[in-house]
Amino acid sequence: MRTVLYILQKEFIQIFRDKSILPIIFLIPFIQLVVLSYTATFEIKNVRFILVDHDHSSESRKLADKFSGSAFFTEVGKTDSYRQAIQAIQKDKADQIIIIEPDFEKNLVNEKRAKIQVVTNAINGSAASLMNAYALSLISDFNKEIMVKQFPMHFKEMPIKLNSSFWYNPELNYVTYMVPGILVLLVTIIGMFLSSMNIVKEKEKGTNEQLNVTPIRKLEFIAGKLIPFWIIAMIDLLIGLLLARFWFGIMIIGNPFLLLFVAGIYLVLVLGLGLFISTLTNTMQQAMFISWFFLVIFILMSGLFTPIESMPMWAQKLDAINPLAYFIKINRMIMLKGSGFVDIQKDFLILTAYAVGMIIFSTMRYRKTT
């Protein structure tokens, strides 16, 4: 047992002496949370549109004003030529074209119907549907105003009134949704990358050669190698939680100690993965590459950016072995929903069994003798 302490001491001296890794370890929570939480957003605040007004009437101007007055839209040009407008989209100078037909006002008054065309650059599908939805909601607003004006007596409210309320994230704030997921990413990177690299470093530098001809036991060595990163990851998580609370103003609705407890178990799993990767590799480059391979797939499938429910069935099944998916789900439940232990019980038990299995498997694979 004392041996573990000696290894721990050695590891911490080395970590604190590493002038390139040490600052990053403690900058990660700041940078990831601040940068990612603000940039990883699907909101589109600045739709650049071109108005092709063939009518030039007071009604068409009113509609155009509706767009240019909206906070989401910026008018980047006005033209009478459809071709010119298309060219602007091709040069990526504009995202959307609003085309108002000739005789728009006349048709509206005489025939009670008129046409507008909306053309959207749909290279990014999800952005395009959002831009489209913004434009439609402005046009339907405009519609309502016309109806009120033209048929003031007849216009009544719609029979079914829609009244939405959003729970757990009432303002549909994307930051609130992202932060718990980013926190999971944070501890995963520390746990998986640093631990696997640290163990492989001894192999690559040859320092394990002399060390292996000592009475150090395998378990002592592994414990001494993994515990430092468990501690560092927990400290990083704590920093992250404090940032979430005091920078982003995200109240942790559930019990923060339950969150830390789950994180502690989750880290055992991630460290086990790191140890496993170190048994597969002989150089830090290999360890780095394999860690990335796993991590990128885990992240893409974790539900961090896109809901797991919308993935195909095989992907959802595959997520059973994705540690990130479990912890992101649990983390969001605790932080945003205030779930207690009973609510997360099932996922927690799977995660625990997974962690225990992984650490035992990797420890058995690790060899002092080849």
Binding site: K10, Q14, Q210, L211, T370
Partner: protein
């Protein structure tokens, strides 16, 4: 407590390449035993099996009464190992490295510091310097200190003097002699043949086999050939001119001279070579018969493994 090392029928191959082939050897307690051989001769493989780092395909090694496979835990306690590649922590200081090794061997550094005082006194002025910033010779002394801090019975040194300057090499061997006086059995490998003379006994290794095992003096005494040391003013072409000279077993560069080994009478050969070289136009020719040194013997053995 001095231990013996008994190697029996040892074999090891990597992907069908034989690294060790049917090795049998017994090293006596408290012996300073040298393994001499070129790169790839199997020295490191033998040492790695001996220090429980890899497993042999066949055969056994016993250190004292301990088997390297069955009793690997005990072996690790009584063995001090210094790998060929510097394997201490470059980012820890001299003192931190030593302290770490003392602790994981569960020994008190104060109780044992006197054991390595001869060596550690050379590097203790730099005890707060990072190991990575030490010179090659200093690194070796630190590695030796760390290998000795737990008072091992067996010390295994894999090419400890490779890449170390001549002065440091000499000093290093003097230190080894001192450690031997403490009763430690020492196994050392080296590619430098001149170091063989400093061992009690040496084994010449080539392509995984032991070529000869004997006291360095016996190897020299039993050498059947005469050596002629040839020097001329213009050394460059002389090796080519002497290759295949009638009666010469071997002609090779040796330091700044040429050695010619022969089984014939040294005096007669000397005359013939002198005339031959003079005819070729060489100037300042000096040819002198020499007592063979261990390098001459090894070169002969490596060339004709059957003899």
């Amino acid at each position: 407590m001095s231990v013996s090392v008994k190697i029996k029928d040892l074999e090891k191959s990597y992907d069908k390449v034989d690294a060790l082939k049917n090795l049998n050897l017994e090293i006596r307690p408290n012996e300073l035993f040298g393994f001499i051989g070129p790169d790839g001769s199997g020295k490191t493989t033998l040492f790695r099996i001996l220090t429980t780092l890899i497993l042999a395909d066949k055969g056994t090694i016993k250190v004292g009464n301990y088997d390297v496979v069955k009793n690997y835990k005990e072996i690790r306690k009584i063995t001090g190992y210094m790998p060929g590649r510097f394997s201490l922590y470059m980012d820890l200081t001299v003192e931190e490295n030593l302290l770490f090794y003392a602790r994981i061997f569960n020994v008190n550094i104060r109780d044992n510091l006197h054991l390595i005082d001869d060596i550690y006194s050379h590097i203790s002025p730099f005890k707060n310097r990072r190991a990575g910033a030490l010179s090659g010779g200093m690194k070796q002394k630190l590695a030796l200190s760390c290998a000795l801090i737990h008072k091992p019975d067996l010390l295994v040194l894999d090419e400890p003097t490779t890449g170390v300057d001549a002065v440091s090499r000499k000093e290093f061997w003097e230190l080894l002699k001192k450690m031997q006086e403490r009763g430690i059995t020492i196994l050392v490998s080296t590619p430098y043949m001149d170091e063989a003379a400093l061992c009690d006994r040496v084994a010449l290794m080539q392509t995984g086999r032991l070529m000869s095992v004997d006291k360095p003096q016996n190897i020299v005494d039993n050498f059947p050939e005469n050596i002629l040391n040839v020097k001329v003013r213009k050394m460059h072409p002389v090796l080519n001119d002497l290759l295949g000279f009638e009666g010469a077993e071997r002609v090779y560069r040796f330091g700044d001279a040429i050695h010619l080994a022969t089984r014939r009478d040294a005096g007669e050969m000397k005359e013939r070579i002198y005339h031959y070289l003079a005819e070729k136009g060489y100037q300042e020719i000096t040819i002198s018969p020499l007592e063979p040194v261990i390098e001459d013997c090894f070169l002969a053995l490596m060339e004709n493994p059957d003899k």
